[in-house]
């Protein structure tokens, strides 16, 4: 049996899953220290299901805690920043483009040192081991205990970063060391930014992970603890303590994967209708389609992979504006948001919202329908038509396959989505949708990604693909997945522009299931990955 937990800003949700079914679920308030709320939530579902701690095979936690720390700029470490690329890159030192206050808060010391690789694998310059050692000693003398190391082309060759880490660990044994190849993709500035943010979270991450482990121990749970990553796969608690930044975007991914699991729909469109917006995302092979837009975290540009979400301004609290003539209708974009239960007409307020119209039309039943101002049938249908059009437009914008799509409707405002919505082949409304995030955490798999720039004139394409595939399969299996479950789920190949020859940037991602009581966390993934 698995436990999935989602620690949000307000609520901590937990689910217990056995044999692909949700056995118990709960919502508890999030505690400032994270672990108290998690203990309460897990304790509640174990008691509810009458399950003993010893029957739990794994615990998966998704948390927004680290994101909040970065956004609120609290409890962050000062960072020693080492870049291995000189003489390249000196014109763009670390922290370029950062909000000034955050840069000042985080920068302990910066060292631009010789090192780095060229695109063809040669060294830009040799690693100066003495200079790395001196930098580590300098950090130690200044009391800087978090060190971020970034090296040009490290995602393709990590050797220099690994060697630098050994040298730093020898010279400064107390240091937490963050290496860029473990954090991000090609794009040195964005990857270095992510590495520095990761280093800034080092103390907090150790503290949070330790307290979560202690909470599980107190509950008598000895099963392994995993943390959700941005892409919906898991890392061990030990890895999360070292690389917390990899977990900061797990929320929307877990929500969509949870929706897929709860409905058995692997390819479709998830529409999460909240109070203010409807967030629309596309599921392909059970995973969210990824966005290609640079991700801004606390004002810092990174290149993490996040789901492609289209937010349209329509939720349960969206205000309906009726013009003076009585036939002019505008939907939102303003919303009463969390004040729905005070401001909406059906809760005794005076603001006409999408929820009021839905209840008046019999699409939902809550609040006091008697308090909703009477709307003429033509006005009512005009409003509902407009809402349906907005939702149908949203589907149309996101879907990339011809024909109607399967729609998974979740969120408190899911009643705004009609069963016969245009563009919908069918609308599925899962049970337990309110804890989809925790479900998404519980069903997550082990994953790994790799990236190379390959010159196909020097190395045949088939060989390069096979080599990367083998390497990824081995890595996922080594991280705890059963070898027969590991598959390549995504591949991306972009040829280098403005250079002669046949060099391509090649990316691949593999996932596999954990070897616990879940036979397969997901329906089978397609055999052939998409090649774009």
């Amino acid at each position: 049996m698995r436990i999935g937990v989602d620690v949000g800003g307000t609520n901590t949700d937990a689910v217990l899953i056995a044999e692909r079914r949700v056995v118990a679920s709960t919502k508890q308030p999030t505690s400032p220290d994270v672990s108290t709320g998690v203990t309460a939530a897990i304790g509640a579902i174990l008691a509810d299901a009458g399950v003993s701690a010893g029957q739990v095979s794994a615990v998966m936690i998704g948390t927004t805690h680290f994101t909040n720390a970065l956004v609120e700029r609290e409890r962050l470490d000062r960072v020693g920043i080492i870049r291995l690329a000189s003489p390249s890159g000196e014109a763009l030192p670390p922290l370029t483009g950062w909000p000034e206050a955050l840069a000042r808060q985080l920068e302990g010391a910066t060292f631009l040192l010789p090192g780095g690789y060229e695109v063809d694998g040669r060294e830009i310059s040799a690693l100066d081991e003495g200079a790395v050692r001196a930098a580590a000693l300098d950090c130690r003398a200044q009391g800087i205990r978090s060190i971020a190391v970034s090296c040009a082309f490290a995602p393709i060759n990590a050797a220099m970063e690994d060697r630098a880490a050994q040298i730093i660990a020898d010279a400064h044994p107390d240091a937490s060391i963050s290496l860029s190849h473990s954090v991000g993709r090609l794009g040195l500035i964005e990857r270095e930014n992510g590495t520095i943010l990761n280093a800034a979270l080092a103390t907090l991450a150790r503290h949070v992970v330790t307290s979560l482990e202690r909470a599980l121990a107190q509950l008598g749970i000895t099963a392994p603890l995993y943390i959700s990553q941005n892409d919906g796969t898991l890392i061990s608690a030990a890895d999360a303590a070292r690389y917390p930044v990899l977990t900061i975007g797990s929320g929307p991914t877990n929500s969509m994967r949870g929706a897929a699991f709860l409905t058995g729909v692997d390819d479709g469109i998830v529409m999460d209708v909240g109070g203010t917006t409807c967030d629309i995302g596309v599921l392909a092979n059970g995973y969210p389609r990824e966005s290609s837009i640079a991700v801004d975290i606390g004002g810092v540009r990174t290149n993490f992979r996040m789901p492609d979400i289209l937010a349209i301004g329509l939720g349960g609290g969206t205000r309906i504006h009726v013009g003076a003539s009585g036939d002019e209708v505008t939907i939102g974009p303003d919303s009463v948001g969390f004040r729905l239960t005070q401001d909406a007409c059906l809760f005794g307020g005076s603001t006409l919202t999408a929820s009021d119209v839905a209840v008046a039309a019999g699409k939902a039943d809550f609040g006091d329908a008697g308090r909703i101002p009477s709307l003429t049938p033509s006005l009512k249908s005009a409003i509902l038509d407009r809402i349906a059009t907005m939702l149908a437009d949203g589907i149309d914008r996101m879907k990339t396959q011809p024909g109607d799509a399967t729609i998974i409707a979740v969120g408190g405002g899911h009643f705004l989505i009609d069963d016969d919505l245009k563009g919908a082949a069918r609308v599925v409304r899962p049970d337990h949708a309110s804890v989809a995030n925790a479900v998404g955490a519980a069903i997550a798999q082990i994953g790994a990604q790799a990236e190379r720039i390959v010159d196909y004139d020097a190395e045949p394409r088939a060989t390069a693909l096979e080599q990367m595939r083998e390497m990824l399969l081995a890595r996922v299996a080594a991280a705890g997945a059963t070898p027969e479950s590991v598959e390549i789920v995504d591949m991306d190949e972009v040829f280098l522009s403005y250079l002669p020859g046949r060099s391509a940037q090649l990316r691949m991602k593999a996932v596999g299931s954990l070897a616990d009581d879940m036979k397969r966390a997901d329906a089978p993934l397609s055999e052939t990955p998409h090649v774009y």
């Binding site: 014109a91 060229e118 996101m398």
Partner: protein, 368 residues
């Protein structure tokens, strides 16, 4: 005029990305460099081409190589100055001002680092009016000027002077050098006099890019359609007299391959609500946009795929399945459209088997 604020450089970056026609690379790193240079220097002077003295020595600057490489192998910062100093030695004369070899993409911001280091102005003009893949596609070659002496420099301080009899050979040598220098290098080429620049350069393209970027920014800030604002700003420059929104849809297919040693591909965009289909062929830049069997725009006119919500340009390397986009086309500067220029930068120069037709003409017949 003076560029005093990072906001204006950001406007320039946004506008230059649009004028890149999908090529020239994402200007983000060039923008960071220019912002750092602005912080050091205080402000940049951007002078109109008409104010340049006839006997002034001008140096077009830019980076040659792969944008994908340039995001890992970052500049040292000394490349441009090293190259310009050597060019001064060769010419026996001080360089009076710099300009971008191409306004489109990251190179639109390239001369600002040099301008900061040498304390000289940037001239409001460029050599391509957009982005092109090869050096001999510059208007200066089309008009018979020599690219040489040109100076190629790299982050490690290495420097190569290229002297060739013709500009095609110059391009081949420069490209090979860029590869052996790690896939990206700085190049100063086509040194020219003020009189030559006035006769041949694309005038006003830097300020046009700034105007486009500013229009998009201001439209976003007040919540009006950034594409309308872009079109109005572009047409108001006079340099790009027509701007059209060709298509609105989502990317449903993407093919990439290499052909003749260049990254080529095709992107397929389906209209919303079953509103037709557009296919765009690209070779580094977007070259031809076709909808339902009819060509709607072609090189050297500008064809740019943009995020339909933010009006951010999506370069051809960044195109991805599922993106929601608008396709915007703009008439290229007139000097790229005469028959002689088209033999260098028209569709046949890119291996297409048809003659150039102007975007405004192609879409006029569509509407009629």
């Amino acid at each position: 005029m003076y560029i005093d604020h990072a906001t204006e450089l950001q406007d320039l970056a946004r506008g230059a990305a649009f004028l890149g026609s999908g090529g020239g690379g994402d200007p983000y790193y060039s923008l960071l460099l220019a912002e750092a240079a602005l912080a050091r220097r205080g402000r940049f002077e951007l002078i109109p081409l008409s104010e340049v003295a006839d006997d002034a020595l001008l140096a077009p600057c830019g980076w040659i190589g792969a944008p994908t490489v340039s995001v890992e192998k970052l500049p040292n910062g000394g490349e441009a100055v090293t190259g310009l100093r050597r060019l001064e030695e060769i010419m026996g004369k001080r360089i009076d001002a710099v300009l971008p070899i191409e306004i489109g993409g990251g190179n639109g911001l390239a001369p600002f680092i040099a301008a900061a280091e040498l304390g000289i102005p940037v001239v409001d003009c460029d050599g391509m009016g957009r982005a092109f893949p090869e050096s001999q596609m510059a208007i200066f070659n089309i008009r018979g000027l020599s690219a040489c002496p040109s100076v190629l420099t790299a982050a490690d301080g290495s420097l190569s002077v290229i002297e060739t009899g013709d500009n095609l050979t110059h391009e081949r040598i420069a490209r090979a050098l860029a590869v052996s220098l790690g896939g990206i290098a700085h190049m100063v080429e086509y040194p020219l006099s003020g009189a030559e620049a006035k006769a041949h350069a694309v005038p006003g393209s830097v300020s046009a890019a700034i105007a486009v970027g500013r229009a998009i920014r201001e439209a976003r800030a007040v919540g009006v359609d950034p594409f309308d604002a872009l079109g109005q700003a572009l047409e108001a420059t006079g340099l790009y007299p027509h701007c059209l929104s060709l298509f609105d849809g989502k990317i449903v297919d993407l093919e990439r391959e290499t052909r003749g040693g260049f990254s080529v591909g095709k992107v397929t965009i389906d209209g919303f609500g079953g509103g037709g289909r557009m296919e765009i062929e690209f070779q580094n830049e977007n070259l031809v946009a076709e909808s339902d069997g009819k060509i709607l725009a072609m090189v050297p006119d500008i064809i740019t795929v943009m995020d339909r919500d933010t009006a951010d340009t999506i370069t051809t390397e960044k195109l991805k399945y599922g993106q929601r986009v608008k396709v915007i086309a703009a008439a290229s500067p007139a000097i790229l459209r005469d028959p002689h220029a088209l033999s260098f930068v028209g569709p046949r120069a890119f291996g297409m088997e048809f003659d150039f037709a102007a975007v405004e003409t192609l879409n006029l017949t569509e509407k009629a």
